[in-house]
């Protein structure tokens, strides 16, 4: 501006000098200049001195925040890593929780869909079953006006469900039989095919896109045929996208009618019609109600009619109460007998949600601790800022900005960590969790704002604490009074250590229990045994099968019937001379002559089943010791006692069977329960199991190959598939083992973060105590005394938190152990180890800081006094 005016005036002046002469030009120039003394020319240009707006302050805050992070790299790194771990674990847990909660919520009729269950009571015990009989569907549609549609599901697990196309043949686990209404009731999305007609034809099949790819490659699957169980050609009428989360976890859908026709025409039960069978509860039945609020009326009517429904059976021995269950509740709340697929559990969801919040809390605590601990370094800065006119709100803004920047960085790092964590988590817990960044773009915004909120919360306390410092004091060089506010940080550290101590106790308890269970003698041999998956295919030719293999030196025994270590049946038994109400519910196992020999169980009284007594197969039973105790006999008394089974579909009473022997108790089923009192009968059907006698794995594989050859001769059209018995038994405890590993993982994280917090605190305290240490050294204190003096305070915190965590840990571990019939006692040893471990970890964390402080030359710290 000034330049431009001066330029104009000079140009004018020059012109005037030529035309008017120098004197007049000077005069006029002066006049012109004076005339420029007007407000517009004098006013300061407002742009260069703009008022400080919020944006400007924020920019400044950000700049300072980044400078601070650069300046204190190690503390910032600890902060960011701690937060990142916290955030990624939190997001991991949350996405698991969200996934679990999302099951079956995608059906638009979800609130109107219910599943039918029934329960019955026997001798004080209520059993609830998730399946009902097939013909119930028609009755519901006829007699219940509130019912709009009904769809049933059924899975046939009797033998290998093979599907074949060209030369591709697989055994499929997830073939569900269902009704054509399935696509009207549920919203399973069909990518190809017409949902209203897809399952109407008896020989139709609907499959997932992945399965279509598996069988047909890139060809169009619609209209192609798959061969089911080597006998039925099924035509593909629909392809669905398996993008939904449902407890109905099928890969294939085929009509119930197919199964019905198969049985009707089948040799052994020719003429059997499942639509007529009221006794067999084989169908998972889903009802679409006309309106959601009709559920109550429906339940009441079911309850009233329940016994009547089952009254179609002659001589019902118990009442059956029917009820309906909301579709969305099945995945998380339902744990009935014969669920269609293994469900999640709401308590696990709660536990994970709690852990998620806990981990985030620990990370925030850590942040608060570390930031307040830095106050020594920042005291002068704060003092100077205040002297320069910074208000308290500016300082608070400054610190909250810093914490927000750190949280944002941590979130970025945490999201990267999460990408590593998710596949681990999924393979670990057999889950299918993913974070739908692309499908739900708003998630990114949510994460961003979530990070801002966490940053604000974590920065809240430190900012108030730091902004309170008195400038006069800190600038004088007076250190911050270490006692004020120290208590809050103590509480924070104690909280962190309570959590980590409890987790350590949990790890130890789970570990010891699992070791105990794995090492426990089950009372039978489970090694080197395989169970054939489709053994029923050679039931008829078992003798031939056995004769071809029994002379093989690598095979020690073949058995047809109940396999030790698997679950058996339940049946009510009644002793001769006792009232029917005295009948006892016992385990019921069909075994062969070779059972005891193969699994190496012990006989304690009487004799085993024997070929010498042909009547054994119809009129002899064996008991185990537990069953003998249930009846209140001694082992010797039991022999010769007669009884029959009662209830169920066959209510006849025949006291034809007689006890011939007593078997020593063995844990055939699960260590969750005590040995089940059981009755053994002789039979010639069931699973085929083979026991090998081999030295190493190579030989075992060879032997299995030989079995496969014989299998292929006898049942060429059925796949040879098998399971190792010991693996199957171990699989029962997998849930516990995984839970243990998860807790271990999070315990380590929690301890790691807690130690970082402790480290920060130690740094802070040591700095405030440098002069004290100097004086002590001058007065002759030894190194060890000084180190101990510093550490004492911290270790006291750990001890306090330990004392609090003992009852918490005891309570939690004990309630977990209650699930097991065979469990360890929680010895004080566990708590002792946990205590020592956390003391040790905490001690090591602060040792280096204490040592450094103790080694400082007193001349340096006391120089200015």
């Amino acid at each position: 501006m000034v330049d431009a005016i001066e330029g104009d005036l000079l140009e004018l002046y020059r012109r005037r000098v030529f035309s008017l002469g120098k004197t007049r030009a000077n005069l006029l120039y002066l006049l012109n200049v004076i005339m420029f003394f007007q407000p517009f020319a004098l006013k300061r240009k407002s742009k260069t001195y703009a008022k400080l707006t919020t944006i400007d302050m924020l920019r400044n805050y950000l700049l300072i925040a980044i400078r601070t992070i650069k300046k204190t790299k190690s503390i910032a790194a600890i902060n960011i890593i701690g937060m990142a771990i916290g955030i990624s674990s939190f997001m991991m847990m949350v996405s698991y929780v969200v996934t679990e909660l999302s099951y079956d919520k995608f059906h638009k009729n979800a609130d109107r869909i219910v599943r039918l269950n029934y329960s019955y009571e026997t001798r004080g015990e209520t059993s609830t079953v998730s399946r009902v009989s097939f013909p119930l569907k028609h009755r519901l549609l006829e007699k219940y006006p509130e019912v709009e549609k009904v769809a049933r599901f059924y899975i046939n697990r009797m033998d290998a469900s093979t599907l074949k196309y060209d030369d591709k043949s697989f055994t499929e686990e997830k073939i569900y039989f269902s009704d054509p209404e399935v696509f009207e009731i549920f919203d399973f999305p069909l990518a190809q095919g017409d949902p209203s007609t897809a399952l109407i034809a008896k020989n139709s099949i609907v499959l997932s896109q992945a399965m279509a790819k598996k069988y047909f490659g890139d060809e169009n699957p619609i209209g192609k045929s798959l061969l089911y169980k080597n006998s039925d050609q099924l035509q593909v009428t629909g392809i669905f996208k398996k993008s939904f989360r449902s407890h109905l976890d099928f890969d294939f859908l085929v009509p119930v009618e197919l199964q019905r026709q198969r049985w009707k025409g089948d040799g052994s039960n020719k003429g059997y019609d499942l639509e007529e069978d009221w006794r067999w509860s084989g169908s998972w039945t889903y009802v679409l109600l006309k309106d959601a609020f009709l559920k109550n009326d429906f339940d009441i009517r079911l309850l009233e009619d329940g016994t009547d429904l089952f009254g179609r059976v002659d001589n019902p021995s118990v009442d059956f109460n029917y009820q309906s269950q909301q579709l969305a509740d099945i995945h998380l709340y339902s744990n009935m007998i014969s669920e269609i697929s293994s469900n999640g559990s709401i308590s696990q969801v709660y536990a994970f949600a709690a852990v998620a919040i806990l981990i985030l809390l620990i990370a925030c605590i850590n942040f608060v601790n570390l930031t307040t601990a830095q106050s020594v370094n920042r005291a002068k800065e704060i003092g100077l800022r205040k002297v320069m006119g910074a208000h308290r709100k500016h300082l608070i803004g400054q610190f909250i900005t810093e914490s927000t920047v750190i949280t944002l960085l941590s979130t970025a790092l945490g999201l990267l960590l999460l990408e590593l964590l998710i596949p681990l988590f999924n393979s670990f817990l057999d889950q299918d969790v993913s974070i739908p960044y692309i499908q739900v773009p708003i998630l990114m915004i949510l994460i961003f704002f979530g990070a801002l909120i966490v940053g604000g919360l974590a920065g809240f306390y430190p900012s108030f604490y730091l902004s309170r410092l008195k400038p006069v004091k800190v600038l004088k060089g007076k250190l911050i009074d270490s006692r004020s506010n120290f208590s809050l940080r103590k509480v924070l550290v104690i909280t962190q250590f309570i959590v980590s101590n409890t987790l350590i106790i949990g790890i130890l308890a789970i570990q010891m229990q699992m070791d105990y269970i794995k090492g426990k003698d089950l009372g039978f041999d489970k090694d080197q045994v395989i169970i054939l998956d489709h053994g029923s295919k050679i039931d008829d030719e078992f003798k031939l099968f056995k004769s071809k293999l029994i002379n093989n030196p690598r095979i020690s025994q073949l058995n047809l019937g109940y396999v030790a270590g698997t679950s058996g049946w339940q049946q009510s038994f009644r002793v001769e001379g006792e009232a029917i109400s005295e009948a006892k519910s016992l385990g019921f196992k069909h075994i062969s002559h070779d059972f005891m020999d193969m699994f190496n169980t012990e006989l304690v009284a009487g004799r085993n089943f024997s070929n010498e007594f042909p009547t054994d197969s119809s009129s002899a039973v064996m008991l185990n010791e537990a069953a003998v105790k249930t009846f209140g006999w001694s082992n010797a008394e039991a022999l010769g006692k007669r009884f029959s089974w009662v209830g169920g579909s066959d209510n006849k009473t025949r006291f034809e069977t007689k006890v011939i022997g007593v078997m020593k108790d063995a844990n055939f089923e699960s260590l969750y329960q005590p040995v089940r009192p059981s009755v053994f009968t002789l039979s010639n059907f069931g699973d085929v199991s083979i026991k090998f006698n081999v030295g190493d794995r190579k030989e075992l594989l060879l032997a299995i190959d030989e079995v496969e050859q014989v299998w292929n001769e006898l049942a060429p059209s059925w796949p040879f598939e098998f399971t190792f018995l010991d693996q199957q038994i171990e699989a029962q405890y997998q849930k516990e083992e995984k839970l243990g590993m998860m807790i271990q993982f999070f315990a380590f994280l929690a301890i790691f973060i807690a130690c970082m917090g402790l480290f920060g605190l130690a740094t802070f305290t040591v700095k405030t105590k440098l002069k004290e240490i100097g004086i002590r050294k001058v007065l002759g204190a030894r190194l060890a005394e000084i180190v101990f003096g510093i550490m004492k305070g911290f270790l006291a915190l750990v001890v306090v938190s330990f004392v609090i965590s003992v009852p918490v840990g005891y309570f939690l571990s004990d309630s977990w152990l209650q699930d097991f019939a065979y469990r360890i006692d929680l010895s004080p040893f566990i708590f002792l180890i946990a205590g020592i471990a956390s003391l040790l970890v905490a001690g090591l964390t602060i040792l280096s800081q204490s040592l450094n402080a103790a080694k400082t030359d007193p001349a340096k710290t006391l120089r200015y006094e």
Partner: protein, 112 residues
Amino acid sequence: MKGKNIGEFEELVLLTVGILHENAYGLSITDELESRLKRKVTISSVHKALVRLEGKGYVRSYMGVASEVRGGRAKKLYQLTSTGREELNHSRELRNTMWEAVPKIVWEGGKL
């Protein structure tokens, strides 16, 4: 600088900025105005008008090259902005409509 209204002198300066196109700066505008108006125009009032016009957004300025004649000082060159052009059009139209509103009789000598 109240509102967006411009006075008569400001309007003339604005027009002159248009006339001079690429060469509109304080002194050239003063010269142009003097030659057209046939009266004295002080340079400070031109500058004042320019500052106001810039504040109202009708012109924008940029620094030109310095020259020997100007004692090494750069020229501050002015340019019409689109709102400046609009404003000129607008006042021209206003004038036109007002012209048209004057009854013919007034021009013809006003015989009553």
